[in-house]
Structure formats: structure tokens, C-alpha cells
Amino acid sequence: MINKLTIIALFINVVLYSNMATASFDDDEACLMCHKYPNMARITDDGARRSYYVMPEIFANTVHRNVPCRDCHTYINELPHKKVDTGVTCNTECHSIKNPATGKPFSHKIIYDAYSKSVHGRKKIETSLENDKPYCITCHTNPLYNPKEEAPPKHIIDRCVLCHEDEKFAKQWYKHTSRRINEVKRSSIEIVALCSSCHEDQKLIDRHVKQAKIDERALGKKFPVAVESYKHSFHGKLTKYGFTKTANCLDCHAEKDNYYKSVHEILPSRHEDSPVSKTNRVETCKRCHIYADESYANLDPHPTSYQEDNVFRYYTEIIYSLVGDFALAALIGLSILETIGRRRDGVAWRLLHGSSWRRKSKRGRDRKI
């Protein structure tokens, strides 16, 4: 009996292990020796709970599956390693992965440099308000290839292997290319949600507005109301309802040329190279509104009725509200007054004999007052 159970247990173990082995990546550096344990975690000095658990079968399906750990975690030189202070920066050159186009070590340097020059650019470790700015991983996690697909479709791989022979290779290429074809751009709703995750954070806005005042530093006029005003604009409303042809944040704030690069190069509107700067505004409007001119570019795409933002709108809104309330009160008041006032005519008589279709009833015949 015990023997039987042992055999079954062993069998299950072998099956599980073999499954894991096929799905996992090559752990040449033996990092999983420790990081395979789910309880591999600590509480930081700030009280945040950090997990260092790596699930090999998940990591094996991510876009970084071929990158050995130490290509990014370059500071690990011994095992067990020392306390990590700097963390991963995304401009590190990979030692193990070659760029197939150039043959040089692969890196995200081009996009990282573009990002560094933008208004969002920051270092990995920041302590001041700079820390509010997004680092690469704020927007980009380590995504799965195709979360909706458990495995590459057989009918496609069947075709690939006829020439490329190696099924593993074919599956890798399928994952790589299909991901990039499937998710070329984030949707407008996703973009607005992404930008809003910081720009709608009132505490973040407040501390930046406060600091800018102390530093006597210019801050965009619309910075405090950017998301709110966008959501109240036509662009925002239509985007909310899933209309895709209307402008999202990046359609105006990023350069038109090479979207994938320009979204990393966002500049404040006061910067002359910004597409929404005074000089570039007309061209930016023209991307969609082909008849736009200097005069058109005066229109406010982020309208609000706050006094400090738009005095004209503020007072117009007040006047309209007063007129509306007055009209409503007057109309309802008049209706009530009329109903009460005409009780003398006899409301009951009117309901029974009034000149509506009820007059067809026999009750209305041959009456005399």
C-alpha cells in the first residue's frame, strides 16, 4: 500500500516537474534557488510589503523570458547577494541578447534617452517630487506575450514548422510577432486611464502646485485640471463612450511623427517644441480639424468653469443657472397657482366634463350649470 502511494506520488511529481521544465526558462545563474520560494519577501523600512518571488512558469511567458536575470540585475555579483539599493534601470545593455538588426548588444537606450529628455524624465531612484514622475515600469510592466492565448494556435505552428523545423523556435516567433501585431497601440480609453492615474491624483497635483509656487516655477495653467477638464470636453466624453476617432491625451500632447517614440517625449506646453505650444498649436489642431487656423487654435480643449481658470465661463455658468432656476420656479409656480386658482371652476367638474375624450362618456350629456 505504502509502496503504491509512493509510486503515485513519485509519478505525480515527475509529471509536474516535467511540465514545469517545459514552461520554464533556463536558470543558468541559479537565481531560482532562492527566488522560487513564495515566502521570499520582506517589509521595507517604509512598511511596504515586497515580494521577491519569481514564478518561473509565468516569467517564461513574458517578453523578457530570454533575458537572463543578471542582464538587468547587474549589481548581483555573489550568492547570496547583498542588499539591493539601486534596482533595475531600463537603459542597461543586455549582455546576452544581441540586437538582430545591428548585431550589437540589445538595449532600450534609444527610447530611454528620448524619455529622459521629456518632462516625465527622471532617474530610477528619486527622493524629491521628481519621484511622482513615471519611470518606465509605471506604464510598462513585464507583460505576458498573449494573456488571452494559453498556447500558440496549432494551425499556425503546424504551418511554421514545415520550414522552420524547430517547434520551440516557431512558438517563440509566433509569440513575439503576434503580440506586437495584436497590441500595436493602447486604446484611447486605456491611454486616458493611464495618464489619469497620475494627473487625476489630487494629492499629487496639490503638492506640485504648492512646490511650483514656492520655487516660483512655471506650471502649466491646465495642470491642476487636466484630466477633469478633458473628461468634460467633447473629446473626453466621446472617448469615454468608446468613440475612437476623437483625440485622447497623446493625440495632442505627443508629436505626430513616430507615435511610439513621441509618446515618450512629452514636453510641457510652455516648451516651444511641444505640439501644444503657442507656435505649434495650429498644426496640432490640423491633424484632425483640417480647417483649423490661428483663430481656431484659441479654442480651449480643456474648458472648466473655475474662476481662476476661466472667468468668462464662471460668470456665464452662474447667470445661466440663475435664469434656469428662475424659469423653472416660475413655470412650476404658475402651474400650481393655476391649478389652485381654477378650483373655482371646479376641478372635479372639469375632470368629469372637461373637453377631453372623457366628454364622450354619458356623464357629460345634457348637463346644465
Binding site: E294, E317, G324, W357, R367
Partner: protein, 315 residues
């Protein structure tokens, strides 16, 4: 009944315009003088067909009302979920309208229909009076144009409703309420068309307005469009429906917008001056009124009294 000066003047004008001869004139005046002084007694004792007795609106006006009715509600229902985008009902309501991809097309198409209806109406109300001027039967008191008398009527009606006056004022074909409502709608319509066009053709408005005004104009329009729509919807919901459906005597509804006819009872009650014209223009109406009043023994002329006496003695 003894007519007021204003009513006598209306009657006089109508008889002149209709070239009424002396015999007929006497007949009309006799009938009116034989009516009971209290208009309430008259309108409560006439027989009315619920779907209307007296011609009031021609087919064009009825079509225009129908167009306004349909376009207004469609425009409101497709537009409101966009303005109140963060309301709890906005999303499902918008889906009901087909989603924004569909409703934006509906909104613009129906807006074009509404503008057509507006132009159609302007043509109608211009050509109609022009023809009447040419025929010499135009009377400004019979039109929707506001006059000083409307302010007096408004005051008198409020006095009546608050119990400080014995009877409601004698009002014309269009009373003060209808005039307010009409011009509010006309103004609102214009605001909606202009502001709507500033959303659809912002570049056009930017090109014709001075630079300093463009942004302010657009902001004004952005606020005006929803506010005006909301105001119009509230006016419809609280006032128009009250006046044509819920007001005492109108429930459940008036058929005028379909049949173009108003009930005799309503005409006498709220449009007495117009009813006087009806008496002048339509001999049959005089006949009806006389019969109805006689059958209820409400005519106080000598003939009736003699007949009544004869009837009493014979019985």
C-alpha cells in the same frame, strides 16, 4: 352679454373684414347680447366634440408641431447622455440610443430635420399673414406677436388664480402663455442651431469671428447648448405638458395638435376673442350656439322668455 371695449373692437374689425351686411350684423349682435354675462356659464353649457369643433391650426402648423415634437425629443435623448456623461443613467441610456457612434449621426441628421422644420415654419408664418394683408383680413391681435394686452392678460389671470378677480381675462387666439412659450421655443431653437453649428463647424465660426472673441464665443456655446436643452426639456415636462395634458379640463389631452381643431368649450374659456370671430365667420357656429343656449334655457332675450312663458302656460 355686455362686451368689453376691447372685445367690441375685435368684433367690429372682424365684421368689417368679413364684409358682414347689416342684417347679419344685427343677428350677431343680438346673439351676443342674449348670451349670459358669465362666460363660465357659456362654456360649461356648450356641447363640445373632444377632438375639436373649431378650426385653429392649418396642416402646415400641425406638421411643424409634429416635426418639432419628434426632433426635439430625439435630439434631447441622444444629447443628454453626452452632457451628463458621469451620471449613473448616462451609459445605459446612451447604449439604448445605439451608442455614441450611432447617436451622433442621429443627432446631426435630426438636427437637420429640425432646421428644415424651422425654415418651413418661417416660410409659413411669413406667407400666411402676407396673403391675409393682401386680402385685407389681417388683424395683428389674431397673431402670435406679443402686445401690451398680453401683459394685462397675464396680470388679470394671476389676479383670477389668486382669487382677486371674478373672471379670467378675455384672451385672443394666442394667449400670453402661448406667446411666451412660442418665443421661448423660437429663441431656444435659434440658440440650439447656432451653438450646435459651433460644435460641428468650429473652424467656420473661428474664421468669421474676431480672434479675441473666438474662445469666448465657443465657451458660451458650449454652456448654452446643454443649458438651453435642459431648460427646454423642463419647460416641456413641467409647463407644456401641464397646459395641454394636465391642466384642469385638458386631461388627458387636447387633440388640437392632430386635428387642428379646438373644442368649443376651450375656445370660449381661453380664447373668447377668437370665438367672437368664429361667430362672425361661421353662421353655423351661431346656429349651434343659439340652439345649445336655448335648449338649456340660457338665452336671456325676449323671444326666449316669450317662448318659455308660452311653454309654461301650455303645460
Amino acid at each position: 352679454m355686455q362686451l368689453s371695449n376691447h372685445a367690441s373692437s375685435v368684433l367690429e374689425t372682424s365684421m368689417q373684414q368679413n364684409k358682414i351686411d347689416d342684417a347679419e350684423k344685427k343677428e350677431i349682435e343680438d346673439l351676443i347680447s342674449a348670451l349670459p354675462q358669465d362666460r363660465v356659464v357659456i362654456y360649461k353649457n356648450v356641447v363640445s366634440n373632444p377632438i375639436g369643433d373649431i378650426y385653429r391650426y392649418n396642416i402646415h402648423i400641425r406638421i411643424q408641431h409634429m416635426l418639432t415634437f419628434v426632433t426635439f425629443l430625439t435630439l434631447a435623448f441622444t444629447g443628454l447622455p453626452i452632457y451628463f456623461f458621469d451620471a449613473i443613467w448616462a451609459e445605459p441610456f446612451n447604449s439604448l440610443m445605439g451608442g455614441v457612434n450611432v447617436s451622433r449621426i442621429i443627432h446631426r441628421t435630426i438636427a437637420a430635420v429640425m432646421i428644415f422644420s424651422m425654415i418651413y415654419h418661417i416660410v409659413t408664418i411669413t406667407l400666411g399673414p402676407l396673403a391675409r394683408i393682401k386680402l385685407g383680413i389681417f388683424d395683428i391681435r389674431r397673431t402670435i406677436i406679443p402686445l401690451f394686452k398680453d401683459i394685462r392678460d397675464f396680470k388679470d389671470d394671476i389676479l383670477y388664480f389668486s382669487g382677486n378677480r371674478k373672471e379670467r381675462p378675455e384672451m385672443d387666439k394666442f394667449n400670453y402663455k402661448q406667446k411666451i412659450h412660442y418665443f421661448a421655443a423660437a429663441f431656444g431653437n435659434l440658440v440650439m442651431v447656432i451653438s450646435g453649428s459651433s460644435f460641428l463647424f468650429p473652424a467656420f465660426w473661428a474664421s468669421i469671428l474676431p480672434d479675441s472673441m473666438v474662445a469666448h464665443f465657443q465657451e458660451l456655446m458650449r454652456i448654452s447648448h446643454p443649458h438651453e436643452a435642459l431648460l427646454a426639456l423642463l419647460v416641456i415636462a413641467f409647463w407644456h405638458w401641464y397646459n395641454v395634458h394636465l391642466a384642469p379640463g385638458r386631461f388627458p389631452m387636447q387633440w388640437t395638435f392632430l386635428t387642428g381643431k379646438i373644442t368649443r368649450e376651450h375656445q370660449i374659456e381661453e380664447h373668447f376673442l377668437e370665438y367672437l370671430r368664429n361667430l362672425v365667420e361661421d353662421p353655423e357656429e351661431r346656429e349651434h350656439l343659439r340652439d345649445m343656449m336655448e335648449s338649456r334655457e340660457l338665452l336671456n332675450d325676449d323671444d326666449t322668455e316669450q317662448k318659455m312663458d308660452a311653454g309654461d302656460s301650455s303645460s
